[in-house]
Structures are given as structure tokens and as C-alpha cells.
Symmetry: C2
Subunit: 213 residues, 2 copies
DNA sequence: TGTACATCAGTGAACGCGCGTTCACTGATGTAC
DNA sequence: TGTACATCAGTGAACGCGCGTTCACTGATGTAC
């Protein structure tokens, strides 16, 4: 029962607990039937509360959804950081972590990398957390032997972007992203079902093709 | 005004026209705000009809949605066939056609290759049209020089599937599919916005890497 | 330790809305003689 | 060509439901003296 922060009043602690449970139920609903299945009233009913009670914790459905998106990206960045902290922050390590993270909750993955969420406006220009994720991938790309990689460095990135990272690393990062997303998103959507092969092997193959050939 | 079939009674013609208009409006709604925005009552209102009138044409929302999905896959297979008929049915030709088709109506693309549609049950085991699309890609893959291609043939496909196509061609087809989908779906979802590069170039690069690199 | 007050979680009813779907019915269009 | 009947598109009202959200209120918990 080791307390987190001594400054935290019990009421505040309770408040955070309830907020957390609401988000947890919301995650479950989305995981089960997609973003459009997220219903404040259903969450309230599950928790034995009236629907109105939730407005003590969130200004509305939009804020709840926003937080879920933010939590998702935070979760991924935490995962990546943990991997990097273990000294496995190369492309292979990140890729394996990404796949495990995605499989653990497919809808959470689509929250970040899927088609735009119906009513939701994505803070326009997207969060710093998202670019931090990209940053971790980018630094892993630096380690990749440039010429050995067959990733198209050809990309003609805008000059304005060239200060952010060497164009070659950016190219590798993009290909890392798109190829893995290609396999992962189709797998998560169930489009490989009944095709008689193991998506993990395809994922591996794409991954090894990135740095070696 | 050249009539299609002489056997068609005027009433039947009218019926087909209205059915077509309903589907057209449905497509517009989905294109504008995603599958969950599809509303029979809104369509009826747009057409100056009562909501109940639509049940003369479709048994319900599900049937309408099913037809839209089927139409989408038919549209893609038609596009691919047209390309093949022009003698451009190689991987490059198909890829360009696919991208154009997807950009013309992103939601239609996601209807086929996106995350599963909320309420919709996909005829389980999916349509012959979908596998016909795969078939066209597969035959294009036969033309790819096997050893020159760096696509992972390694895939260890189930033995049971090896009668359908040579394992090498199947491997190439899979990689064709997943890589292009990776770029395309992220582009269509707007995840490249503000990143300062042209998705078309990335698409091209991935494509050329398929058969040559 | 006890009392007076403020804070705040949660209630329950209501609002307005839109949804898919049904049903009995009207009225126009087509068909048979 | 004209009349009798069947077909079928479309209406309008209703059903039941669930949604997000607001509002005035109750009752328990915390704080100040």
C-alpha cells in the first residue's frame, strides 16, 4: 500500500482512481467494438453510476477520447524508452516492441495509426509524444549502415526538413514505419486470416530486409 | 440514351435508378465522415423521401453496407482488369492503378483494407472478388525475376496452399500488398501531413524496390 | 473534541436528438380481358 | 379503347432505443475555528 505522493489528499486519490477506471472501461469498449462504440452512459452503467456522474471527471466524450489517444501514444513512447534503456533500442528491438504493443490492443494501435477517428480532431499538427516516438526510431536509424541499406534515400525531402535529421536516416525511418505498418495493420484488421501463413514471419522478413538488404 | 437491356421493364429501370442513387448518397456520406456516418434516414431526407421508403430497396442498413463493400471490390477488380487489358498488368501498372483508385475515394479503400467495419459481418471467408484481385496481383508476380527480387520467399507458407501458386510468387504478392498498403493507408489517413515530403515518391520507391532491389 | 461551514461526488429527471425499423394505408402505374 | 384488378412506390405516424449533455438537488466528506 506504499503511497505515491504524500501531498495527495485522499479525495484527490479517489478522484484519480475513478478517472482511471472510467478510462479503463472506455479502453475495453473501444477494444471490443471500435471507437464508435465508446459510450459514456454505458461506462456509467457498468460502474453503477448515473451517466451524469461522469461529468465530474471529464468535460465530455471528446475529452475522454482525447485522453485515451494521448495515453496510447504515451504508452508507446514508454515502451520504446524501456526497450532503449535495456540497450535494445535498435531497429529490431523497437520493431519487436511495436508488434507486441500493437497485438496487445489492436484498437489502441489504430487510435494512433489508423484512419482518422470520426468526430475527433487530432490537436492538429499532432502531439510532441508522437514526434518523440519518431525520434526514437530516427536515432535507431542512425546506426544502420547507410549504403548497405536498400531503403530509398532518394526521397527528396524538403530542404526545410534537412536540419532535423540526415536525409538518409529519415528515409530509413520512413520505410521502417510504412513497411511494418503495412504488415501490422493488415494483420490486426484480420485480413490475413485463412491465408495460411504466419504474419510474424512476414514481419520478421520485412524487418531483416530493412537493415541488411 | 441507348438502352441497356430491352427486356428491362420501365418500372424495373426506375427501381435500379433509385437503388443506384441511394448507394451514391451512401458513398458520399461514408466518404465524408466514415462508415459510422452512414444513415438511412439522412439519405432519405436528401432524396426527398421518407425514411421508410428506403426499405423498398434494401432490407436494411446492413444490406446497403454489404452492397457498398461488394461494389468497392468489384470496382477495384474492374480497374485492375482494365489495366491488364491495356497490357499494363505488371506490378507497376497495378500499383499505379491501385493508388489512383485509393486516392479517388479513401474511405472506399478502407472499406476493403481498413480495420473491420463496426457492425458489419464480412460474409466470413471473404468474397471471390477479393481473391480475384489477389489473383491478378499473383499473375503479375510471376513475371518478376525470382532471384532478382529481394522479397522474402522465406515465408514457409502452409503446404496446403502451395497448390494455389508457386510459393515465390505468393511471397512477392504479399510483400507487394503489405508495402504498398503501408504507404497508402498512412497517406490516406493523413499521417504524412506536415512531414514535408511527397508520398507519391515514397510509393514509387517502395514499388521499384519490389522488382529490382 | 465538537460545532459550523464549504466542498464536492453522485442522483434523477429532463431535453432534444437521431437512429433503424414496422405497419396500415394511399395513390399512381402497369396488366389482363 | 375502356374497364377491373393487381402490383408496388411512397407516406406518415409510431415504437423503442440510446446517445451526449444540463440542471437543481441531496448527502457525505473534509476543513476551520
Amino acid at each position: 500500500m506504499s503511497d505515491a505522493a504524500a501531498t495527495t489528499t485522499p479525495r484527490e486519490r479517489y478522484r484519480q482512481q475513478v478517472r482511471a477506471e472510467i478510462k479503463e472501461r472506455a479502453r475495453e469498449q473501444i477494444a471490443a467494438a471500435g471507437t464508435s462504440a465508446l459510450s459514456l452512459n454505458k461506462i456509467a452503467k457498468e460502474m453503477g453510476l448515473s451517466g451524469a456522474a461522469l461529468y465530474r471527471y471529464f468535460t465530455g466524450r471528446d475529452e475522454l477520447l482525447s485522453e485515451l489517444v494521448q495515453d496510447a501514444s504515451q504508452s508507446l513512447v514508454d515502451t520504446f524508452r524501456a526497450v532503449a534503456g535495456r540497450g535494445e533500442g535498435d531497429l529490431d528491438g523497437l520493431a519487436q516492441a511495436l508488434r507486441a504493443w500493437a497485438l496487445a490492443d489492436p484498437q489502441r494501435y489504430f487510435l494512433l495509426y489508423g484512419p482518422p477517428v470520426p468526430g475527433y480532431r487530432g490537436t492538429a499538427g499532432l502531439t510532441s509524444t508522437m514526434s518523440e516516438i519518431m525520434g526514437l526510431v530516427l536515432s535507431a536509424c542512425d546506426a544502420v549502415p547507410r549504403e548497405a541499406s536498400r531503403a530509398p534515400v532518394v526521397l527528396h525531402l524538403d530542404r526545410s526538413r534537412e536540419d532535423l535529421a540526415p536525409a538518409s536516416a529519415l528515409g530509413v525511418a520512413l520505410v521502417f514505419w510504412t513497411r511494418l505498418h503495412g504488415v501490422l495493420s493488415l494483420e490486426l484488421s484480420g485480413h490475413f486470416l485463412g491465408m495460411g501463413f504466419d504474419p510474424a514471419l512476414l514481419y520478421e522478413a520485412e524487418l531483416s530486409g530493412l537493415s541488411s538488404g
